[in-house]
């Protein structure tokens, strides 16, 4: 390992250790939330089927969306909370003084968020097996959508973490942007069931394509063609990554 690689690897390890130390909390919280959703919604709506997803129970339809919604929120939380904490605590100087370039920063933060996303997704999938079995019709598409989506939210978390100067601002970013957009993206319903305005609006929401594309990976069918979903997600990933990278490169609100 050359020194730059070791620097990167150490930063990645530190970012993973942060949530690993509280692994129970990191994984059990989203799993419990998901179970509650399943108990409430799936029981209440158990008789229903979803237009366009014939042959699937509502519970089956629900699980991929729930997992992706949780991944979206966790990937965002991982990078944004780490950055705001070290900014507020002041210990960000330890990494700022180190010979780490923007690429190492970007890579380490994104990868750590991906590790957490995988853990959360696998745990949720394992627990929901009690209720439903899901096919995996398109594993490659599933993986691509998963990685690009989690990566996008991790990059968005970097943007928020660098931009924010207080915990409140991260909470606001999360509560007013990430959570509503992830809820309004067809987790609980097919967008075909929506009134015209919301139907159109959904199509401008990148989270919608993440959830729809993820569902495609499981069922081989979805509201949107997978190529369109992947194009949206890839573009979104490219845009937020470019912004996050630029902020790291210029030391935006870090190197004053």
């Amino acid at each position: 390992m050359n020194p730059d690689q070791r620097g990167f690897y150490t930063l990645l390890k530190k970012e993973v250790m942060r949530f690993w130390a509280v692994l129970g909390q990191t994984v059990s919280a989203p799993v419990i939330t998901a179970l509650l959703y399943l108990l409430v919604f799936a029981q209440a709506l158990s008789g229903r089927t979803i237009a366009g997803y014939e042959g699937l129970s509502y519970t089956q339809f629900l699980v991929p969306g729930l997992i992706m919604m949780t991944v979206i929120q966790n990937a965002f939380a991982n990078t944004s909370s780490s950055l705001i904490q070290s900014k507020v605590m002041g210990n960000i100087v330890f990494t700022l003084m180190a010979p780490l370039g923007p690429l190492e920063w970007f890579g380490a933060y994104i990868l750590a968020a991906l590790v957490r996303s995988v853990l959360v997704a696998v745990a949720m999938l394992a627990v929901t097996l009690i209720f439903v079995r899901l096919p995996i019709e398109q594993p490659l598409a599933l993986l691509a959508v998963f990685l690009l989506s989690a990566g996008s939210l991790a990059a968005l978390g970097i943007i928020a973490g660098l931009w924010a100067q207080k915990f409140d601002q991260i909470a606001a970013f999360s509560n007013f942007i990430v959570t509503p957009l992830s809820f309004l993206s067809g987790v609980f319903y097919s967008v075909h069931a929506l009134p015209a305005f919301w139907y159109t609006a959904s199509h401008l929401n990148p989270f919608f394509y993440m959830i729809d594309g993820f569902r495609y990976g499981f069922f081989g069918t979805a509201d949107m063609p997978i190529a369109l979903s992947l194009a949206w997600i890839t573009t979104f990933f490219a845009v937020v990554s470019a912004i996050a990278y630029w902020m790291l490169h210029t030391g935006y609100r870090m190197r004053k």
Binding site: R6, G7, N91, F94, L96, M97, P99, G101, R255
Partner: protein
């Protein structure tokens, strides 16, 4: 030309016309100086002088508005990786990461610099030298302020940098630890490390540093060897314990530097007020002297002189 270039790469630190503005406030107004390899250098100045701003700019924590800095010839912006590997900085703020324990924190910090297990013995040695052995696996959160300061010092040294900058390492540190730190810094220095120190304890700077820069309001007010700085103002202090007799004559009252419990201290310019003439004046006035004591000016006197002159100008 080549000769100058060679000499300049020998500088441990080269600070070239560095300006830093925070909005309308000019924290550094074009600071230039160099620190030689192997020097023990003191950076002094009153609160808000710009010492930490300069150090943070060297460390890459802040960006200079203009100007350049290099560490052993490596520019801190264009060649930041090499420059930062050659540099260890102890920040003034007592920052720590509550997630980790002492030894993990130090190993992680070493990793950022590309150092692996080969520096673990050095880390253990520092833990020992800085008297942190009992706290080796204690959470950073649980340490006292002075202990956190010691970890910060160790953290700056994990990668064995040839240039070390300590921003007030002895602030809030007890007497015993201060001695430990001094011994530790002297050892580092004797092994060839260039050490730059800021402190508000001027006797500390006087004792440790071979050269001193005094910064005030973002400008270098003095840059000299400690000896030259001490000899710079040819004055000395004459302390008199006055007995029952006539008061001090008016001609001497203007020279009073301090006055307390019947002891007055006169500040004499050697050329202008020879001791002889002062005693003559005292005798003529009928002043009774119980005790006499002279004192050479120390760094504190010179510091006050320089920074006061600065504010008048």
């Amino acid at each position: 030309m080549t000769a100058t270039m060679n000499t300049s790469t020998l500088d441990a630190l080269k600070i070239d016309a560095v300006q830093k503005s925070y909005g309308s406030l000019q924290a550094l107004k074009g600071v230039s100086f160099s620190i030689n390899r192997g020097e023990f250098f003191g950076l002094l100045g009153p609160n808000g002088a710009g010492k930490s701003t300069l150090i943070n700019t060297i460390a890459g924590l802040t960006r200079a508005t203009s100007g350049h800095i290099s560490v052993l010839g490596h520019d801190t912006v264009t060649d930041f990786r090499t420059a930062r590997r050659l540099l260890g900085v102890v920040p003034q703020e007592l920052v720590f990461d509550p997630f980790f324990n002492v030894v993990d924190m130090l190993r992680i910090q070493a990793g950022y610099y590309g150092c692996g297990e080969e520096v673990w013995p050095w880390i253990d040695e520092m833990i020992e030298r800085l008297e942190l052995k009992a706290k080796r696996t204690a959470s950073m959160r649980s340490l006292s302020g002075g202990m956190k300061r010691r970890v910060l010092i160790a953290q700056a040294l994990v990668h064995k940098p040839p240039v070390v900058i300590l921003d007030e390492p002895t602030a809030g540190v007890d007497v015993e630890l201060r001695r430990t730190l001094w011994a530790f810094m002297r050892d580092l220095h004797s092994q060839g490390t260039t050490v730059v120190l800021t402190t508000h304890y001027l006797e500390e700077a006087q004792e440790m540093c071979s050269r001193i820069a005094i910064l005030d309001k973002g400008e270098v007010k003095a840059l000299e060897t400690t000896g030259a700085l001490l000899g710079r103002h040819p004055f000395r202090f004459l302390r008199l314990k006055l007995g029952e007799g006539a008061p001090l004559p008016d001609t001497l009252r203007g020279l009073i530097a301090s006055e307390k419990d019947g002891v007055v201290e006169l500040k004499l310019e050697i050329a202008k007020h020879p001791i002889n003439s002062v005693f003559a004046a005292l005798r003529t006035a009928g002043v009774v002297i119980e005790d006499v004591h002279t004192r050479e000016p120390d760094l504190e006197d010179i510091f006050i002189e320089l920074t006061r002159a600065g504010s008048a100008a």
